[in-house]
Amino acid sequence: MIRVMLSALLLGGVVALAASCMGLRQINELAIVSAVGLELGEKPGTVRVSVQIIRPADARGQTGAPAGGTGEPVYSVRAEGKSIFDAIRNLGRFTSRRVYWSHNFVIVMQEKYARKGIKEMVDFFTRNHELRMDTWVAVTPDSPEELISTITGLEVVPGEAVDKLFYNNDVAGHALGSNMMNLEEAMLSGSAQPVLAKIQLQPRGISNKKPGARASINQVELAGAAAFRGDRMVGWLSPKETRGVMFFLEKLESGIEVVDCPNGGGVLTMEFKNARLRVVPSYRNGKPEFTLRLRADADMVESGCDGALGEIRDEARSKLEEELASSLRGALNKAQKTYRSDFLKLGDTFRNKYPSEWRTLRHRWNETLSEAETEVKVKVVIKSAVVKAERTNRP
């Protein structure tokens, strides 16, 4: 009898625990965040958090107002607080649902906020179990709340549009695909510094209703990168310099370069492919040195040049090599001289090859790097003029 009673008690307990509704959160009770903006608050020492929340009834299908909907696929609000968490809790004073982070696409920080330090931001979003680590992180010179509310491209939800911009960032090759995963890694690393994508608003969209207004609708665009030293932003990188950084950090394989025609005339556009950058560190006379070797294949994809492409092939190759070398040198110059910040992970490469020397240099690595000798070698092979025969361009 005792055994039966104990079994019943145990079974009842297990059923009660297994079927628990503890912590239950229904999907229709959540405010699903798709983008976050961070900037300094109005009061000193405060932070302003703006969030873009998906309005599920309006976000489905195409834009427009479905029955019972408002026609606006997102609901954007902002709040301030002494910390990010405090600001988010303050959002709860006027949002009817509880903020849910798991589907957030992007975190955008305003430049002034990034220059003040992002340690708390990284800590908050990595400590929060709901956030995905592949959430994109970017810096903007514009207002983040305006940026995250701007409908860009074909997507209904602005955050999703920015997400897709980042997924295809290697097509243009003008901004890094920086996410929380690699930001956290760089922040904690003893031998590298963070670098984040720069996004901005530009009047690129043309209204179908007022085509005469031309490109007057703001769109979000990828526009370079923001370099950091420690947790503080120290400056911007141009899109061209950012392409140089992408060879180091994202193993950028392809892209296009436009060069002047070697024999006068217009311009020649070349698409490089299979690019591979090799960083070779060395150590001489107590100083590190780096040799950068970039190899790539290339095709001529658009030509306004006079003469046959076959005849200008060697000169075009030299010009392309010079362009690519210029991207690399630009990135190196910013890392070594302008910002003295090792966002190219040269320290990692040096540390891996010279661990004992690294121990003596690591405490003043940014200064050491600024004095390091660097050599850039680019070798390109132009293999094709794509579908055209080389002589068709002759006048």
Partner: protein
């Protein structure tokens, strides 16, 4: 109780299940805090030491292959010695519930149910553990077989989801912390296989082919555990970096958070917990089982059935006390548990071998 027979596969599966979850969950974070990117080397060194100790354990049992370590002690020096070993076994598994419970509770609570009270998780784990214990070794061994399937699936999934982010530069330079420090750090991995070798000391006689291939079974189990765990060491080091791994109590969950297959299958935590659940509950179950066997021997009982409930309450209360405070839990995990686990897991078979050498001929 040693008349139950389990297959060789079950025996190996039980030993793997018992050390896998904690090793990938919390031990890698501890190792990253100690030796950075050399954590995979510490794991490898720990595994080699584990192979040595399981062989020692085999040597102890080999002399009397139908008896577990407590019964052998009793045979050698009489009932008092058997009871003393029973007490040691009880203390070992009771202390072992701490790290296992923190692995279980923090996985579920911190990533899925942060608002649920901790007592819920502890009570659920102990309830399942008591049921398993009550039904005995064979039932638990079958659970371990299911668990090993889940472990393989989990490893395959995490490899596929993380391989895109794998950066071998994060594992370099090798042995930056130096060999002595890496070897010293491996005690944290040792404290994981200690549970497996102590379980082997209790269930070795039940393994089907113990007489023919006992040593091989134990060695295969520990080596396979090491290989399955080292995959996580390498992934956590190369994908997350040692610096990031060292920041987290549950570094495997951090890896799962980063993992993705294509654009659509993101965040593995839920899949991971599903696959984790059986090995994790098995660990709690076995800890309770070991404690009940020790308690039964200590109290002079013939079976462990009557000790299931009291031992469950003791281990539940202790486990709850450990997980209630994160700082206490981590201190216990890193500073106290290895110093309980290793002296017992290594010292007991060594002592038994000495006693066997001195008093091997005597039988009471």
């Amino acid at each position: 109780m040693t008349k139950t027979r389990i297959s060789n596969g079950m025996f190996i599966a039980m030993l793997i299940n018992l050390c896998f979850v904690k090793s990938i969950g919390v031990t890698q974070g501890v190792l990253a805090r100690s030796v950075g990117q050399d954590m995979w080397i510490a794991t490898l060194l720990g595994t080699i030491q584990g192979i040595g100790v399981i062989y020692l354990t085999y040597l102890v049992i080999r002399k009397m292959p139908d008896k577990n370590i407590m019964e052998i002690g009793e045979s050698l020096l009489g009932g008092w010695f058997g009871r003393a070993i029973g007490l040691i076994v009880f203390v070992f598994f009771a202390a072992g519930i701490g790290p296992l419970m923190l692995t279980f509770v923090y996985h579920l609570q911190e990533y899925f149910l942060p608002e649920a009270p901790r007592v819920l998780f502890v009570a659920a784990a102990m309830a399942v553990g008591m049921v398993g214990c009550y039904y005995g070794l064979e039932v638990m061994a079958r659970i371990a077989l299911v668990g090993i399937l889940f472990i393989f699936l989990l490893n395959a999934l995490i490899v596929v989801g993380s391989v895109d982010e794998f950066d071998i530069r994060n594992l370099l330079p090798v042995l930056e912390s130096g060999f002595p420090r890496t070897l010293a750090a491996s005690i944290h991995l040792d404290s994981d296989w200690a549970l497996s070798t102590m379980l082997a000391a209790l269930i070795y006689p039940a393994a089907k082919d113990f007489r023919q291939r006992g040593a091989l079974l134990g060695i295969v189990a520990i080596a396979a555990s090491g290989l399955l765990i080292i995959i996580w060491s390498l992934l956590e080091g190369a994908v997350l970096s040692a610096e990031v791994t060292s920041q987290y109590t549950l570094s495997c969950m951090k890896l799962a958070r980063n993992a993705h297959i294509g654009h659509f299958l993101q965040r593995y935590e839920m899949i991971m917990i599903s696959l984790y659940s059986i090995p994790m509950l098995f660990e709690v179950m076995i800890c309770l089982y070991g404690a009940t066997l020790g308690a039964a021997k200590l109290c002079g009982l013939k079976t462990n059935t009557r000790t299931v409930l009291p031992a469950g309450i003791v281990l539940g209360v202790f486990g709850y006390w450990i997980v209630e405070d994160h700082f206490v839990a981590l201190y216990y995990l890193e500073r106290i548990w290895p110093w309980i686990a290793l002296p017992i897991a290594v010292g007991l078979p060594v002592t038994m071998l000495i006693v066997q050498a001195l008093f091997g001929g005597r039988k009471t």
